[in-house]
């Protein structure tokens, strides 16, 4: 096989690092890939060891009613995915089978379930925190992880439709949220250096939808609410965001009614690790075969 003319994704498939499913952005993960993900998970846990964050892991779906309240559809309708299921009669079932057999549209009769695919790991967290009532004076700190979905099919292996996001979320006073984000910007540099990844940190914006979105994005940038740790994967001109550092001000606190110990609306901040993107960055920069990776990187990931 010609290595030079194959894309990075082709080479990942050829070596069984990822497995093709026939849908762009939806892949099976091989043993080497998962070993890297597990190694990074442990490394991230060690980074945050002294913080005593409360660990919560989420399934890839969230409560549809809470998703609706979250406002995600205002800003990112193009990325959302909903779970639908068959709820018809036997007659409807026969029509459905008929449509599948004839290559017709069989999904029209599916009804929305109470579940939507989680768009970001922290979305299901806020309502849980809100339900507990007023925060303690030290605020809240959470270590969360979820498979997330974003509908943006692409041949770029770093733009998957389903991927894992590990996050730390800080909920409390504005200065608690701000110092949390500052400390993670520092840690992230050390993390990327340990993994020997070329990187830089830059101000960023979320992919808000439409003209209203253009304004939201510009406002987010002007206020420097989002930073990303960028690593070149598919291109040097457009490096891939592998981590993000977000300050939501009181957006989620207000939306979910989360109050600090003194009764003020809580501010929130989160740091997100795109686990698949970080793993792909490692495969890109250190090679498809993890046996050939630098000893220090292998040691950091306990490979």
């Amino acid at each position: 096989m010609c290595q030079a003319c194959d894309s990075f994704l082709d080479r990942l498939f050829a070596k069984g690092v990822l497995h093709e499913t026939g849908v762009d952005g939806l892949y099976g993960r091989g043993q080497a890939f998962e070993a890297v993900i597990e190694g990074m998970d442990r490394l991230i846990t060690r980074l945050a060891e002294g913080d005593h964050a409360e660990v919560i892991r989420f399934p890839p779906g969230m409560n549809r009613a809470l998703f609706e309240k979250s406002g995600y559809m205002k800003n990112f309708p193009q990325l959302a995915g909903t779970v639908h299921s068959f709820a018809g009669s036997e007659k409807d079932h026969l029509a459905l089978l008929d449509n599948i057999h004839n290559g017709g549209d069989w999904t029209g009769g599916q009804g929305a379930t109470d579940i939507v695919l989680t768009p970001a790991a922290c979305y299901p967290l806020y309502p849980i925190v809100a339900r507990r009532g007023q925060l303690a004076p030290e605020g809240g700190l959470f270590d969360i992880q979820s498979y997330c979905f974003r509908h943006e099919p692409s041949k770029d292996p770093a733009r998957m439709q389903m991927f894992r996001m590990r996050e730390f979320v800080r909920i409390g006073l504005p200065e608690q949220a701000a110092s949390f984000r500052e400390s993670w910007l520092e840690r992230a540099r050390g993390f990327a250096e340990t993994l020997e990844l070329p990187h830089h940190i830059d101000v960023a914006n979320d992919p808000f939808f439409g003209r209203a979105g253009r304004m939201m994005a510009s406002s987010q940038r002007e206020q420097a609410l989002k930073f990303e740790l960028l690593v070149p994967i598919e291109s040097t001109e457009n490096p891939t965001a592998c981590q993000s550092f977000n300050y939501h001000q009181d957006h989620f606190g207000e939306l979910w009614g989360i109050k600090t110990a003194s009764g003020e609306t809580a501010h929130t901040a989160c740091v997100g690790f795109g686990m698949e993107r970080l793993a792909l960055a490692l495969f890109k920069h250190h090679g498809i075969d993890t046996n050939g990776w630098p000893t220090s990187v292998r040691a950091a990931l306990s490979l």
Partner: protein, 80 residues
């Protein structure tokens, strides 16, 4: 024009104070205008004044005060 802008700020801005009490050059964000309310205000301005803000005006600055909104609208009306 300023009166109409103030009416839309009252309707869309969700501010704690009446637009009447806000100076032309006062910072609307400092008065409590959120990013999302600014978007709603932008859409209402477009409909009321029958203009379309070009991309270069779709930023925080353009909607930061009643005077800056009026400035954008003047520019668009003159160009039309």
């Amino acid at each position: 024009m300023l009166d109409t802008i103030r009416r839309l700020v009252d309707e869309q801005g969700r501010l704690a104070v009446a637009a009447e009490a806000i100076g032309d050059n006062a910072d609307l964000y400092a008065t409590g205008l959120t990013s999302f309310a600014a978007v709603q205000l932008m859409l209402a301005l477009e409909e009321t004044f029958d203009v379309e803000f070009p991309d270069r005006m779709l930023n925080r600055r353009s909607f930061s005060s009643i005077a800056s909104i009026a400035g954008c609208l003047h520019e668009l009306k003159e160009a039309a």
